[in-house]
Amino acid sequence: MPDSSSTPKNYLGVPVKRPKVAFFELSSCEGCQLQMLNNESSLLAFLDLVEIVRFREAMSGGGDDYEIALVEGSVTRSDEVERLKIIRAQARLLVALGSCACFGGVNQLKNRFPLDWVKREVYGEHPIDTAPARPLSDFVAVDLKIYGCPVKKEEVERIVTDLVIGKDIAYPDYPVCMECKANGNLCLFELGEPCLGPVTRAGCDAWCPNSRAGCWGCRGPATDANLAQMLAIMDERGFSRETVIDRLECFGGFASQVAALRAAGGHR
C-alpha cells in the first residue's frame, strides 16, 4: 500500500482536486451550517477534503474565490437576490443547503399571510424590506439540493465526498418509514401521533420519529409519494385536513401538493 499521506490526492487513481468551498446564508437560522460543526471527529477530515474559504459560523472574513457554494436559507429580500446571482456567477457548483434553500423552508409559512400584516406582526414599528420567502431555484439554477431542516451532517459529508471524487450523487427514493422501521421504532400513528414519514423522502435516518416526534416533511416528498393515501390515513385517524395541510406546508417541500389540495378542497 502506498503512503496514505501522499499528495496530490487521487481516488482509485483518478486525480482529485481539493475544491474551494464557501458557505453562504440568506434568510435562515444558520442551523444547517452549525450542523457541519457538530462531531469534531470528522471535522478535520472534512477540512482536509475541501478548502473552506468562507464559513461565517466558524471563521471571520472570507474569500470570493470558490468553486462550490453551499447556500443556506431562502430568498426574502431584493439584496439577497443580487447576492445569490453573484454567487451563482462565481460558483462552478451551487448547492442549496437545507429546506429553506431547497423549498423556502419554515420561512415560506409567511407567504400564507398578507405581506403588510406579516411586517406589522413581526417588526411592529420598525418594518424592513421583505418579500415572500422563495427557494433559490426561483432565482438561479441550482445544481444540487441537500435536504433537511436541519441537514444531516453525515449526508452532507457523503455528498461532498462524492462530489470531490466525481461520483454521481444519489438520494433515497423511498420514504422515512423505511429508516424508521430499521431503527426499530413503533409507528407514531400507533401512539396516536400524526406523521408525514410515509410520504417524505428519507435520508435523515428518521431523526424525528426516533425521538417519538412525528415527521413534518422537511425533506420534501419521496419519489412517487402516495399523498392521496396519506390524506386518507389522516382522515381515518381523525386528524383534520387543516392539521394535515399545516404539516405539509411547514417546510415548503409539498408546495405543489398543498396548492392542489387547496384548489380541490377549498381550504383557504
Binding site: A45, P175, K181, E190, P198
Partner: protein, 347 residues
C-alpha cells in the same frame, strides 16, 4: 423429543443459566399504544423480570438480530490504483432468544432455506444461526394471526426448548442436547398423564381461537391465473411504497448494496441494507428502466414471491401468518384480504 415439566419459578433459574452464555433477547413492553394496549418488542434483556412472556405479537420481528437492517460487508484501504478489501466485522456474542413464538421460529426456518441453502450460504446469518439458542414459548392467537393457514402455528424444529404454559408450570419440549443439559441443572420432572392432558387441552383450546383464515387451496395457480386481475390495481392505489411490510416481516430478506468512499479518500465501505420490493427503485436497472414502475406491480410481485414462487421452490409459503404486515400497514393492506380479493369471484 424429550418432554419435561418445570415449575414456573424454575424459569428464572433457566434464564440465569443462559444469561452468561450470550446476549439474551426476549419480549419486553415498549409502549402503550393509542388504544391503551401494551405493545411489545424484542430487546436485549439483562433481568428476567423485564421479560413479558405473556406477550402478543411484537411490532417488529426478531430478524434484525440475525439479519441486521444495516451491515458492513467490507471495508477497503485504498492506495492509488491499488486497494485491499477487508471483510466486515467479526462475530459478536451468541444470541439467546428467550420466548419466541412458533411463527417467529418458523420464520427463521424459512429464512434458513434461502440464506443457508444453495451454493452461497450467507456467512453472517449462518454464524449467528449456528450459535443461536432458542427458547420457544406458546401464545394466544390475536385477531390478525393467520399462522394456522400458513402451516406455521406449530414449531417442529428450529428451537432448543419450547415452553407451553400449563398455569403454574410449564410443559417443556426439549430438542437439543444443549437444552437437555441445561434443563438437568434446574428442577424438572417427567410429565405424567395429567400433564399430557393439560398440554393437549391447552393446544386444543388455542386452536379454537383463530379468527382469521386464508384459503391457500390452489393458490399458486390462482395467482398465476389472476396476474392481470384488476384487484392488484386497487391495492396498488393504496400502497404507500414505504417498505414497512418488508421491514416488519420476519421472513423478508431482500437487500440493497451500496458503497461509500471515506472522507479521507483512503478508505471505503460496502454496506448491505435490507430493502423492500415495494420501494420505487427496487427493480430499476442502469439507464433508468424500471421493470416494476407502478406500486401495484411491486405489490403484486411481493405476493408472487411469497405465495407462489417460494411455494414452488420449497413447498411452503414465505409467510408465517404473523399478521405484522397487515397490522403495520397504514393503508390497511392485509394478506388475508389481498388473497381473498384475488380469489375473488370463485365462490
Amino acid at each position: 423429543m424429550i418432554f419435561k415439566v418445570i415449575d414456573r419459578e424454575e424459569l428464572g433459574r433457566l434464564f440465569a443459566l443462559l444469561a452468561p452464555l450470550g446476549r439474551v433477547i426476549g419480549p419486553v413492553e415498549i409502549a402503550r399504544d393509542r388504544r391503551g394496549e401494551h405493545r411489545h418488542g424484542f430487546a436485549e434483556v439483562a433481568d428476567f423480570e423485564a421479560l413479558c412472556l405473556d406477550y402478543g405479537t411484537t411490532a417488529l420481528p426478531a430478524k434484525a438480530y440475525v439479519l441486521p437492517y444495516r451491515e458492513r460487508l467490507a471495508a477497503f484501504r485504498l492506495g492509488g490504483q491499488d486497494w485491499e478489501k477487508v471483510p466486515g466485522p467479526d462475530q459478536e456474542r451468541p444470541l439467546i432468544f428467550f420466548g419466541l413464538h412458533a411463527c417467529d421460529i418458523n420464520a427463521f426456518n424459512k429464512l434458513d432455506k434461502v440464506l443457508l441453502g444453495g451454493a452461497y450460504p450467507v456467512p453472517g446469518y449462518a454464524a449467528r444461526r449456528r450459535e443461536m439458542f432458542v427458547v420457544g414459548s406458546d401464545c394466544q392467537p390475536r385477531p390478525a394471526c393467520f399462522c394456522r393457514s400458513m402451516g406455521a402455528d406449530t414449531a417442529r424444529h428450529g428451537f432448543d426448548l419450547f415452553l407451553t404454559d400449563l398455569g403454574g408450570s410449564y410443559f417443556v419440549e426439549i430438542l437439543s442436547s444443549a437444552a437437555f443439559n441445561l434443563v438437568r441443572k434446574i428442577a424438572a420432572r417427567d410429565p405424567e398423564e395429567d400433564d399430557h392432558r393439560r398440554y393437549r387441552r391447552r393446544v386444543a383450546e388455542k386452536n379454537t381461537r383463530f379468527t382469521t383464515q386464508v384459503d391457500t387451496t390452489d393458490l399458486t395457480k390462482i395467482l398465476d391465473l389472476e396476474f392481470q386481475s384488476e384487484v392488484w390495481q386497487q391495492w396498488g392505489a393504496r400502497c404507500l411504497s414505504c417498505g414497512t411490510c418488508a421491514n416488519v416481516c420476519p421472513t423478508c430478506y431482500c437487500y440493497t448494496v451500496s458503497e461509500q468512499a471515506g472522507l479521507d479518500l483512503q478508505s471505503a465501505r460496502k454496506i448491505k441494507t435490507l430493502y423492500s420490493c415495494n420501494l420505487v427503485d427496487f427493480a430499476a436497472v442502469a439507464g433508468g428502466h424500471n421493470f416494476r414502475p407502478t406500486s401495484h406491480a411491486r405489490l403484486k410481485y411481493r405476493y408472487y414471491h411469497k405465495h407462489r414462487g417460494f411455494v414452488e421452490a420449497y413447498e411452503e409459503p414465505l409467510c408465517v401468518g404473523c399478521g405484522r404486515c397487515g397490522e403495520s400497514c397504514l393503508a390497511g393492506i392485509t394478506v388475508p384480504e389481498v388473497i381473498a380479493s384475488v380469489r375473488g369471484g370463485e365462490s
